[in-house]
């Protein structure tokens, strides 16, 4: 079963502060381990919301607002898709991921098949 892990942003990420060499090394190490375990299907980081936009639909009215558009802790900063045997496995990977990127929140969602 596939799970999507989405980790949430923080002030530094929203301010477009680049990751430290230690952070880069920690993530790189973790990604290598996860890839070697065979469960990683996809993973991407997502830039500060100032680079993007938000689209809202209210009845017939469609509004587009350039970023930044929300508080850091409400925005995702990246995702990964894992092919694992159980939700608990996805959770274990999420714990390691949180430690490596310093995330305070990760959502773990079952991918529709």
């Amino acid at each position: 079963m596939k799970y999507m892990l989405m980790h949430y942003s923080n002030e530094a990420n929203e301010a477009d502060v680049p990751p430290t060499p230690e952070q880069i090394a920690a993530v790189s190490q973790l990604m290598g381990e996860v890839a070697q375990s065979g469960v990683l299907l996809a993973a991407e980081g997502v830039r500060a919301s100032s680079y993007g936009a938000r689209l809202t639909v209210d009845g017939e009215k469609v509004t587009v607002k350039d970023g930044p558009f929300a508080e850091a802790k409400e925005l995702i900063a990246g995702f990964a898709i894992l092919d694992v045997k159980s939700k608990e496995e996805a959770i274990e990977h999420a714990k390691r991921f949180a430690a490596a990127v310093g995330a305070t929140q990760i959502d773990i969602r079952l991918v529709a098949e």
Binding site: A35, Q36, V39, E113
Partner: protein, 426 residues
């Protein structure tokens, strides 16, 4: 202290992630896989006893590896008091000194590779290899293996026990094969992975979930191999083949459970992520000069389908060329039947029939129902309806699948009707 259900599930998940590395390291330390698995079980039990009290450690993998190492050293001390053996694990005979970090990070890949080569050793039968691989590298429990293969748990357990016994009897020890030995042993490994995959691919929608899960286990193993052996083109070729075929899993059954042929499938249901990954793996195989490997060629054929946004857009000329290469590199009667189909699609039914007619003489294909099915289809497209009808009836006779039989009988009826029409009858 017995862990509660939630904690137990977490520990199981952690073990599922970490056990291959633990078993691999233990096998390297003690030399034989049977002892290694026993020590691994002890390690797991130690976690089950300790963690409910102390909490799950921040780095559970490191805890498990260190505990396993302790157990291995104890075992080696008991088994062989010689200083030489202890020196191998960096221990002086006087006191046990374990540097937890020394070998934790390096050689994990080598450990896994050594274990894979043991589990897939050619001295074992293919089913024994599959069961052992799923257990040691997939972390599957015996009951899960049993459900996947539709055998009893006792049979599955026996298969694994016998496999370990055979390995012990033939003195198969942990070793890191050099490049030449690897090249020689790799086909056996790839064969096991693809066997597991096909077992899962054959699962139908009513089957136990564990059966279909075998496809995913095989793909995970394929990805592990790709990370351990990044320069082996057929490893990437096999991974490409598996991911490209798996991309169609969601589209191959209709809502009522009937199978849907590839050319009739709703391509909107094909998994684009798996297609992207499969095409990337194929490209890696080709970059490594492996485009003529059997797995890479089959992946190339699957890629032709994956790239076509509609059935009509399929590059049949390329598929025919790939089957041509496959028939030289890894010939088999079934490859020839598929080649006839491709020729018929690329160059017209007469081209397909030129080959299919020859295949009628091949002994191995005498009871292969797809040959008359293919001939029937080619004959119908060539306007030879009465002959087509005869072939479809023959295919209906040969197939053991009730749905297939019905499809063949329907086609026979259609061919007979087409034979009656004045403008098409021959």
């Amino acid at each position: 202290m017995i862990p509660d259900a939630g904690l137990r599930r977490s520990i199981d998940a952690i073990w599922r992630i970490e056990s291959p590395k633990v078993v691999a390291r233990l096998t390297r330390l003690v030399g034989d896989v049977g002892t290694a698995e026993d020590l691994a079980q002890d390690t797991f039990l130690a976690a089950l006893r300790r963690w409910p009290q102390s909490g799950v450690p921040d780095n559970p993998g490191a805890w498990l590896m260190a505990t396993a190492r302790h157990l291995a050293i104890d075992h080696l001390r008991r088994r062989d008091r010689g200083a030489a053996k202890l020196a191998q694990v960096g221990v002086s005979p006087d006191r046990v000194e374990v540097d937890f970090d020394a070998d934790l990070d390096d050689d994990v890949g080598d450990d896994l590779l050594g274990l894979i080569f043991i589990a897939c050793h050619p001295v074992l039968s293919p089913e024994a290899r599959a069961a052992l691989t799923l257990r040691l590298l997939g972390g599957l429990r015996t009951d899960e293996i049993a459900r996947a293969y539709l055998i009893s748990e006792a049979t599955a357990a026996q298969r694994i026990v016998r496999a370990k016994r055979t390995l012990a009897a033939t003195q198969v020890r942990f070793e890191l094969p050099d490049a030449a030995a690897r090249r020689e042993r790799l086909p056996s490994v790839l064969e096991v992975v693809y066997l597991i995959y096909n077992e899962g691919y054959a699962a139908s929608s009513g089957d136990d979930w564990m059966r279909a899960e075998l496809c995913h286990e095989a793909m995970r193993l394929g990805r592990v191999l790709a990370s351990l052996l990044p320069d082996e083109p057929e490893v990437h070729g096999l991974l490409a083949l598996m991911e490209l075929q798996a991309s169609r899993l969601r589209a191959r059954t209709a809502s009522d459970g009937t199978p849907v042929l590839l050319l009739d499938q709703d391509r909107g249901r094909w998994d684009q992520l798996l297609i992207r990954r499969g095409l990337a793996a194929l490209e890696r195989a080709e970059e490594l000069g492996g485009s003529l490997g059997p797995y890479a060629l089959q992946a190339g054929i699957a890629a032709c389908h994956a790239r076509a946004t509609t059935a009509e857009a399929t590059d049949w000329g390329r598929i025919a060329a790939l089957y041509d290469a496959l028939s030289q590199v890894a010939p088999s009667p079934v490859v020839e039947v598929n080649r006839a189909v491709a020729l018929g699609m690329a160059f017209g039914p007469e081209a397909g029939l030129a080959l299919a007619d020859e295949l009628v003489e091949v002994p191995e294909l005498r009871s292969y129902h797809l040959l008359p099915a293919v001939r029937g289809d080619l004959l119908a497209r060539a306007g030879r309806h009465l002959e087509a009808r005869d072939e479809f009836l023959r295919a209906a006779e040969l197939t053991r699948n009730a749905r297939e039989r019905q499809v063949m009988l329907d086609r026979a009826r259609q061919a007979a009707a087409d034979a009656e029409r004045p403008d098409t009858s021959r």
